[in-house]
């Protein structure tokens, strides 16, 4: 019983971690380029509703391929919504905090509007990356029993780490986030690089959002991401903008969120379930306090984070 319980718990942890890991990986790259996009929650919701709607609509004609189209559509929708943010903060130099917030509010509203007609419908969950026989024994379940998105998320974190630290393009992206004025005067297209980073972040948030509506509960519900987008933002600070730590931090939050699920389901806890529901947010604040107190000089954050850059003035 205990082994089975642990395996169950581990599978759940991996599941709840995946969407925040996806979104946070995208946001990490965005912040490395010097832009703070607070609209993650909104982009996740837009991805969630798009992924669900496309999978549902294509289900008849495409069969098993429909979820793949759904995920791609979620990524495209996330990227498209992030472009709204990008035009404002990059081309028009608007305040990044306020604009990101606008994107979050916008995404919540738009996804509710679009999703209103899908409430109550169900699709086949997008799980099983591998043949079912691989996932029969406990170890197989942990290793092979997940949605393709779980593996995609892990690959993307590693890829982001490799890209940022090992490639020339990554070096340039970090340079733009470190000192946009210098990068501009050496001749790098600061705004183009930031557009690309924001689009990537939007796509990752969109795909992360689709995990809620296509894997966890294969149906659409208003505001179903329930604040995970904000957790993803805290996670980036927690990671000190390092992909390796991001992975560790994501699983830490995954464990907390799993505790909430178990506390609700089994009632084994003497504390009210609301306490467990609030736990990830309380821990996020606590973690921010610990990490930020360590980095008093703020030297770990990209130096240009959140600063507007207008090349021709």
């Amino acid at each position: 019983m205990t082994l089975e319980f642990l395996i169950d718990a581990l599978v759940t942890v991996i599941g709840v971690t995946t969407p925040i890991l996806l979104a946070a990986t995208g946001e990490l790259v965005v912040e490395k380029s010097g832009v703070l996009n607070l609209g993650v929650e909104g982009m996740m919701l837009i991805g969630a509703v798009t992924g669900f709607a496309v999978t549902l609509t294509c289900g008849d004609s495409l069969g098993d391929f429909a979820p793949w189209f759904g995920v791609i559509a979620a990524g495209v929708a996330g990227a498209a919504s992030s472009m709204l943010f990008a035009v404002l903060v990059l081309t028009l130099g608007s305040n990044q905090v306020a604009t990101g917030l606008a994107l979050a509010i916008f995404g919540i509203g738009l996804s509710s509007l679009v999703g209103a007609s899908y409430v109550g419908m169900v699709i086949a969950p997008f799980n099983q990356a591998f043949p079912a026989w691989l996932a029969e024994d406990p170890i197989g379940r942990v290793a092979f029993g997940h949605s393709p998105l779980v593996y995609f998320a892990l690959i993307m974190v590693i890829a982001a780490g490799w890209f940022l630290n090992r490639t020339r393009a990554g070096l340039i992206l970090r340079a733009v986030g470190e000192n946009d004025i210098s990068a501009h005067s050496i001749g790098y297209p600061v705004l183009a690089i930031r557009y690309a980073a924001i689009a990537f972040g939007g796509a990752m948030a969109g795909i992360g959002g689709s995990y809620f509506s296509m894997v966890i509960t294969p149906m659409w519900a208003e505001q179903m991401t329930a604040g995970r987008g904000w957790i993803a933002l805290a996670l980036v600070v927690f990671s000190s903008w390092r992909p390796g730590r991001l992975l560790v931090g994501a699983y830490f939050f995954g464990i907390l969120m799993t505790l909430e699920l178990y506390a609700k389901a089994s009632g084994f806890s003497c504390l009210p379930s609301q306490f467990w529901a609030a736990m990830p947010y309380i821990m996020a604040v606590a973690v921010l306090a610990v990490m930020s107190a360590r980095d008093v000089a703020g030297s770990e954050a990209p130096a240009c984070l959140g600063r507007p850059f207008m090349p021709n003035s």
Partner: protein, 521 residues
Amino acid sequence: MKVEAPPRLELVGVSKSFPGVRANDAINLKVRSGEIHALLGENGAGKSTLVKMIYGILAPDEGQILFDGALARISNPRAARRLGIGMVFQHFSLFEAMTVLENIALGLDARLSQRELLAEFHRVLDAYHLKLDPRRIVSTLSVGERQRIEIVRALLLDPRLLIMDEPTSVLTPQEVEQLFETLRRLSAGGCSILYISHKLHEIVALCDTATILRGGKVVGTADPRRETSRSMAEMMIGANLKEITKPAERIFGPPKLETQNLSLPKPTEFGVSLKDVTLCVRAGEIFGVAGVAGNGQNELLSALSGETLAPGAEAVILSGEPVGRLRVTERRNLGLCAVPEERHGHAAVSEFSLTDNASLTGRDRMAFVSFGLIDPGKATTYASEVIGAFTVKATGPGALAGSLSGGNLQKFIMGREIMQHPEALVVCQPTWGVDAGAASAIHQAIVDLSARGSAVLVVSQDLDELLTLCDTIAVINLGRLSKTMKVGEASIEEIGLLMGGVHGDPSATIELTEQLHAHPV
């Protein structure tokens, strides 16, 4: 008639405008191959705009750029580098949190492997006798070393034209000499150098030709070896130089502003800690603090003004009273006023009107405030008085600080402090980026203030400024202040050594400084 090779760089009728200013007006300029060509002009004369167009950062509105006789399209810095144009920026284009080698890689367009890059890097260091550790993080380097990264980055391109924008303002006299050697070696190899400066003695020492800019136009071309510094200066300023008048007999009163073993930790990772700074400025005295940028000048200023509190009250003393634990406003009310180096965003708020900028520091001392409310009438009146007394060119007290030229804003800031009748005034870089007319007005105002019995402390990187203005001088290096010397008794070499000699080896510099402290030359 012999056929001459086309010039390396030729500008024909190049113009560029910004809202409200014609920064460059039909500029014609020729730089021959292997020539060291000075571009001489005051701040705001249009030098930086011009070289930014040559390097492809800005696009000219009109005119042509020819490189080796052929019409060149330089749409971005990459295109400039492809032609063989390298540039060393005045405000470095470096990335503080990255290594020297990463910074070098970012400045190259060729895709080199780590090993090839290192080999190239060491080839250039050897060829020009330069020293630099490729693995160091830039933020840990001295200003001189940082400039060396920029130079190496430019040299790695094997440039045919190297643009140097005010390269010596951050160097000790010894480092300047070393830089000149590198430049002469380069020019001997056929590389042309466009050398931007407003320091005349450097141009006389280094350059073959000088083009002088004023108000965005070329006003003359000269052979620096045949002209006198004074004649070039007058061409640059467009008027006769005005000497500051200083009373011959300088009489000092009792100590007004003192620090005693003032030590402070680094404010940030990139800052400098202050170590045992002891100084004394008497009433009527102008005290100069020389030093290369980034050696603790800003930290000293904020410790005196109260922006940073001292560990003990006795560390800072004003008119005999310990003020080390008092805050900015309290110190100001006791008569300690200050002008920090950075005008925009520190000494003044660019987005605010001059009236609001008058309130920024004058509200209590000039009594604008009653019951927590600012009387806008009084603030406006005071701003107008400052504008009038210091001949600040502005549309009125409602003008935004950011709309004023550097010189006019600096006059306003200095006036705002001086008209509060401070007991002691601390000023950092009073004439940095200021035109000559405003600079001499500011110098005169400082002299007049001291003549009325105030103590004045001037921090500057411009040694010439300190030597003409001050009565006494001390040098700050790595957060330590040297012994106080009388101006006239100190030699440039000695001050240069105190400033840190040749940077690059901090431990040796500290030793050297300590030796000099122990045995004043």
